[in-house]
């Protein structure tokens, strides 16, 4: 089988000003994942590497740059699945870690469970050696602006991030 990887960087009313950043980010991510495959890594290694790359990039709504909840906090979630035997790992309500996808992978590989949330997910991540980061370190200026727009303009302005463009309904 010839290895292959595909990535996405989010759907919705992506404004013109964010297109180049999205292009750059998905190309970096897909190359990171492909490099894993070419160096003998598994498909799991590949998809984790690609997503980790985008979790570091403020152009994407994941990891650093995630959108904010009504309290102005980042609350992230992630899942990963292995098609050989349909095992999966997922986490939700993650606030203090840079890479939710890597914690999800540990749920897949190191527990008999599929899905951990909230404080349990946090305790599990710490047990597995993931380093906590200050929650504010995950908040980008764009995310703050997007929440302010949402709070000031109401639900019709809701979008993944940034102001809603005309013609979009994502």
């Amino acid at each position: 089988m010839k290895p292959i990887i595909i990535v996405h960087g989010g759907a919705g009313d992506i404004s013109e000003s964010r297109i180049q950043g999205k292009f750059d980010g998905v190309k970096v991510a897909v190359r990171a994942g492909y490099e894993k495959l070419m160096n003998g890594g598994s498909a799991l290694d590949s998809v984790e590497a690609a997503v980790v790359s985008m979790e570091l990039d403020e152009n994407f709504n994941a990891g650093y740059g995630s959108v904010l909840n009504l309290n102005g906090e980042v609350e992230m979630e992630a899942s990963i699945m292995w098609g050989q035997d349909l095992i999966s790992g997922a986490v939700t309500l993650i606030k203090e870690f840079q890479h939710p996808i890597s914690i999800a992978r540990k749920v897949l590989t190191d527990t008999p469970h599929s899905f951990l949330g909230g404080n349990g997910a946090k305790l599990f991540a710490l047990e597995k050696g993931f380093q906590q980061v200050p929650p504010e370190s995950l908040i980008s200026e764009s995310a703050k602006e997007a929440l302010n727009d949402f709070l000031n303009k109401g639900d019709d302005q809701r979008t993944e991030i940034g102001r809603k463009d005309e013609g979009g309904v994502g």
Binding site: A62, M76, G83, L151, E160
Partner: protein, 140 residues
């Protein structure tokens, strides 16, 4: 939201999806991304899918699993992805997107939203796009 689907040299398929959710969400809100069958699905016998878009709609429609089942029923990756995403939007009046690989490495990309950023590597080229009916390419 971000996601990735890969097939390795042994023919095994993996899918990963990660997100910050939706802007201005209620505290404690959970979307489709961590829900297997909603935001993510992988089966070596069929293919793999990662989704993005309106989370509440995606999880109601079990979008990733819907695409898998359409492929299992004989549709190719692109047709299954298009049919499921458009079906969700027609049924629930919200938008989404998905990326799909079949077990043979065939690609499916479709979104009912205004835009979706995507990229894949094939034959030493990077293909990418963000607008409807747009495919750009550059050397790997």
């Amino acid at each position: 939201t971000v996601g990735a689907v890969a097939i390795d040299a042994d023919g095994h398929i993996a899918v990963a999806t990660s997100t910050g959710g939706i802007n201005g969400k209620m505290v404690g809100r959970i979307g489709d991304t961590p829900l297997i069958g909603g935001g993510t699905y992988a089966d070596d016998n069929v293919g793999g899918i990662s989704t993005t878009g309106h989370g509440e709609s995606i999880l109601k429609y079990c979008l990733a699993h819907t695409i898998i089942k359409l492929m299992e029923g004989g549709l190719d990756a692109d047709t299954a992805t298009r049919q499921a995403v458009n079906g969700m939007t027609a049924r629930l009046n919200n938008t989404a997107g998905a990326i799909t690989l079949s077990k043979n490495g065939d690609v499916g990309i479709h979104f009912s939203s205004k835009r979706m950023a995507w990229a894949y590597v094939k034959n030493d080229k990077v293909y990418y796009g963000i607008e409807h009916d747009q495919t750009l390419e550059e050397p790997l």
